[in-house]
């Protein structure tokens, strides 16, 4: 289980990296944290002629302001989980990221790597969708910010062009006090999620001013539960509404099946997780305001 041969190049700058991408096209891959890419290479499921190491580029800053959290692409998961500034403006971020793999992987896995890979159950991808994020990229032709709905296309498929590199993700949590919760069910702690739901809720005078809900496991990309969000807007949360919200969220979805979970089970999980996440997010929102 040794990787196939390649030529290693360390990129000196982000510009250098994208120029190399342009130059080598499909023959090149970027190496960030390597926690997903290198296992694939060791298993020889992934091969490349040129491996462009961007791991030391200074793209690991975290800028936190109310309503806007900017995370550099090379921010390591652990760094982001432990960031008090990030937690202050977007507590759902550490809540979600705690589910990623295990501590040693979190030391080196990166936000940009996760977003570029676009595993359907990746927590960072769910956060980008939940928090109306942009994926900020760079290519030889320049930079752009791709909004989440345009970015995620399908499992492992994004809007990234072959010569384009993620340099940051911009997340937009609610600017004021809000409550959040991220729940996940996986076979063991840290395994790929069978289903996950994240909720952020703003409560004013006992009524929900704003609710955002994301689900992983409903489709091949994270999806917002728009109908459920609409139902919650302006509502007061009752037990009956909590139960109803989960059902609304999964209405019409044919979740996928694999050796871990059937479609029915996933759907049932999402129903439960959405209801619970919303309830807990509301509790937290209320206790903050």
């Amino acid at each position: 289980m040794k990787p196939a041969p390649f030529t290693y190049i360390r990129a000196d700058t982000a510009q250098h990296a994208v120029e190399l991408l342009k130059q080598h096209g499909d023959d090149a891959r970027l190496l960030a944290g390597g926690q997903t890419l290198v296992p694939m290479m060791n298993l020889r499921l992934s091969r490349t002629e040129y491996l462009i190491d961007i791991g030391r580029l200074p793209l690991n800053s975290i800028e936190a302001a109310p309503g806007l959290l900017k995370v550099g692409a090379l921010t390591r998961h652990r760094q982001l989980i432990e960031s008090r500034e990030a937690a202050a403006v977007a507590p759902v971020v550490p809540q979600a990221m705690w589910h990623i793999a295990h501590p040693t992987i979190r030391n080196f896995g990166t936000a940009g790597g996760s977003v570029a890979y676009a595993d359907p159950t990746a927590e960072i991808c769910a956060l980008v969708v939940l928090l109306d994020g942009d994926v900020v990229t760079l290519s030889a032709a320049g930079g752009r910010a791709i909004p989440a709905p345009d970015y995620f296309i399908s499992a492992f498929q994004t809007a990234l062009q072959p010569d384009e590199m993620v340099v940051a993700i911009h997340l937009r949590p609610p600017a004021g006090p809000h409550g959040s919760c991220f729940l996940e069910v996986s076979e063991r702690k840290g395994d790929y999620a069978m289903a996950a739901a994240g909720a952020v809720v703003v409560v004013n005078d006992g009524a929900i001013a704003e609710a955002r809900i994301v689900m992983s496991g409903a489709k091949s990309i994270p999806v917002r539960a728009r109908a459920a969000e609409a139902r919650l807007k302006g509502a007061r949360l009752t037990e009956a509404l909590v139960d109803e919200i989960g059902a609304i969220a999964v209405e019409g979805f044919d979740c996928y099946a694999d050796i871990r979970a059937s479609a029915e089970y996933r759907k049932s999980l999402l129903m439960s997780l959405v209801s619970r996440a919303v309830a807990r997010a509301c509790d937290r929102a209320v206790s903050k305001s």
Binding site: K2, P3, V38, P39, N42, F108
Partner: protein
């Protein structure tokens, strides 16, 4: 081929390696650190854990070529025959190992936790070792070892 300068357990050496050569293989074969073990080669078992610039890292998921200039500590750099680290001693005292194959990986992964945690809960201790698989001990002795090491660490005023 790439020239890579590594400081491993205090010794600095430059080696010329094939670009794809895994850090774990270089540590084992070029630096003689056979305590770094391959358990799965895909990052799921923790047997190959080393410290990379002070931080636990899976050495099967890094290419030596990307590690130029790094400071690496392996199990061979922890404690000495005469003076083991409190965690190593705790593994012995609490029967935290049986076949010994996963042991270096557990120790390297847990060292920062042992040195920083203050009165962790059982769940927190188990979470700290969630990336390491042991088939022999059932984890019970390892959890005991972590607790014992944290106690010893606290008693020594934070030094191990």
């Amino acid at each position: 081929m790439t020239a890579v300068m590594l400081t491993v357990n205090g010794r600095t050496q430059t080696v010329e390696v094939e670009d794809r050569r895994l850090l774990a293989d270089v540590l084992r074969n070029d630096f003689g650190c056979y305590g770094v073990h391959f358990g799965c080669s895909h990052g799921a078992c923790g047997c190959c854990t080393v410290h990379y610039d002070g931080v636990p890292r899976l050495s099967c998921l890094a290419f030596a070529a990307q590690c130029d200039g790094a400071t690496i500590t392996t199990i061979e750099g922890i404690g000495t025959d005469g003076a083991r680290h409190a965690l190593q001693q705790a593994f012995i005292d609490q029967h935290g190992l049986q076949c010994g194959f996963c042991t270096p990986g557990f120790i390297m992964a847990l060292l920062p936790f042992v040195e920083r945690a203050k009165e962790p809960t059982e769940d927190q201790i188990r979470e700290a070792m969630s990336g390491n698989i042991c088939r022999c001990t059932g984890y019970h002795g390892i959890v005991d070892a972590v607790r014992a090491a944290i106690r010893a660490h606290a008693q020594n005023g934070g030094a191990s």
